[in-house]
Amino acid sequence: MNQSEFKIIKKFFESELNDVHLTKENIKRFVTEIIKAGLNTEENEDDLIKEISVYEEKLKELDDKLYETFSEHLWQSSRNASLRFNYTEIYNENKRLVLRLVGLRSTYFKLCELLKITETNSEERDEKMIEKYLPMKE
């Protein structure tokens, strides 16, 4: 094969094999592979074409399904990020409210002590909230 022939063949293959470095060797390999595949099959062209149509049809269905699942995945991911953000926002606000509650309770106990009255406004849920939003390890 001379240089001009190689150029023709290279052009022929290059149009669809952009990512392949087209040397004489890998064109040879590719041609051999195709010819061998053709020689080794006992199926006729019509059967192959029919089978290809089935695969192409399936590919269209799969492409649609892929688009659907990808969109759903994207939606669930963004929803996840948004829910996480909302949760953190409310949790942090509750932390601030619990700090305020601790201060108010302390004032309340002090006032009861000064007025020498029995504390009647201590709720069990106060403790639970303090434990939940201001745990000891913090």
Binding site: I35, L48, I90, L104
Partner: protein, 128 residues
């Protein structure tokens, strides 16, 4: 893909096939020549048929692989969606819980503010 190009363009000109034939290893050339009884046009025709069939086989392989890859990707996405949905449900429950706490805390702090104001007034009245 190359085989699609081949089929679509019906590249039947013997000049291209001759060049492709020239690229084949001797062993393969001999195999084709023997089958087609060494007549030049028959050799080229046989070569053309083998190429076309080879292209079709390759196209089928590529489509099959592509379908398998897309199916795998879909399964992977579906698995992740399932996990995300369950995590989102859990987050929604947690949000409901902290929202409920938030309402209670707002009411409770307001209540304590009011009580403390009353107690401070009482204290002032006692002149402490």
């Amino acid at each position: 893909m190359l085989w699609e190009l081949w089929i679509m363009n019906e590249r039947s000109d013997y000049e291209t096939i001759k060049k492709i034939f020239a690229l084949m290893p001797n062993e393969l050339k001999q195999e084709i020549e023997e089958v087609s009884k060494k007549k030049r046009t028959e050799v080229l025709e046989y070569c053309k048929q083998a190429l076309t069939k080879g292209m079709l086989v390759k196209k089928r392989e590529t489509l099959k692989e592509k379908n398998e890859l897309i199916s795998e990707k879909i399964a992977e996405f579906e698995k992740q969606i399932k996990s995300l949905k369950s995590e989102n449900d859990m987050l929604l429950n947690k949000i409901r819980e902290v929202e409920e706490d938030n309402t209670w805390l707002i009411n409770r702090t307001e209540e304590l503010e009011r009580i403390n104001e009353v107690l401070v007034k009482k204290l002032k009245l006692r002149g402490v």
